[in-house]
Symmetry: C2
Subunit: 164 residues, 2 copies
Amino acid sequence: MKRLIVDMDDVIADATGQFISLYERDFGIRVLRESLNHLEEAILRYVIEPGFFRKMTPNENSQEVLERLNQKYALFIVSAAMEFPLSLSEKQDWLREHFPFLTWKQIVFCGSKSIVHGDYMIDDLPHNLETFNGEKFIYTAPHNLQFDQFQRLNNWNEVAGQFL
Amino acid sequence: MKRLIVDMDDVIADATGQFISLYERDFGIRVLRESLNHLEEAILRYVIEPGFFRKMTPNENSQEVLERLNQKYALFIVSAAMEFPLSLSEKQDWLREHFPFLTWKQIVFCGSKSIVHGDYMIDDLPHNLETFNGEKFIYTAPHNLQFDQFQRLNNWNEVAGQFL
């Protein structure tokens, strides 16, 4: 089986949507998804708020497609979660709820993704893809539209089309 | 810099000593270190006890040697911690206390270590070493004395001799 490495935030989990909701809660303004760069400092502070990672919505179709990918690939969920210590248990609980077919053996929490290797990686952040030894796919998010050096997957239907 | 991957339990942390202490607390018998196979079921139940990972003693000289290794290698601490969900925060806190020179970028919690790659791995469990792509070193523990297919490091002075 080929090894497929899939990111969490803004790939299977709608982190951008979570930022938008919290920003609206605090400032009464609903930011357009297309105009959101989630790396802006004003927004990044939300990730240290308890519940941020636990309450994210799975991205559309990610559950069904990932369950099918899990039959065909050695699937690993790799999240650069170590920067936010509180996120680890939230992310574990979130995965158990929304992706119950995954086992603990398939989960990796790290700081730098340069440590993992495999055949394919799907990630929204160019710096995670850059150090990867296999084939690289960027999953579209508002903050990565300007990067064109990777194969692009715009949604989970496209992931299915590529890998199933 | 060459990448060096170091395990936690029974490599930098004295998990075996922790098993011995808890067994003595419960049964009044101090088991000889040499006769302990920490994979026995009766002992394994201790790892789900809160505080088990937080209260371990660092192995002798591991702190000083690892701090020097951290200057010379791209050092990663990789722990197959995902099986015990409660261990993650305990392990983070433990590392921060005893190895404060490590950053969150150098920590990896996973289920299967087959996902990581690098130049050298030091681990006490043969199945972790078997899937590794680089040079493999077994760190001596009571449960691995019978394995002779790996280069062996008996203590942290020998680690220093090998890598510094």
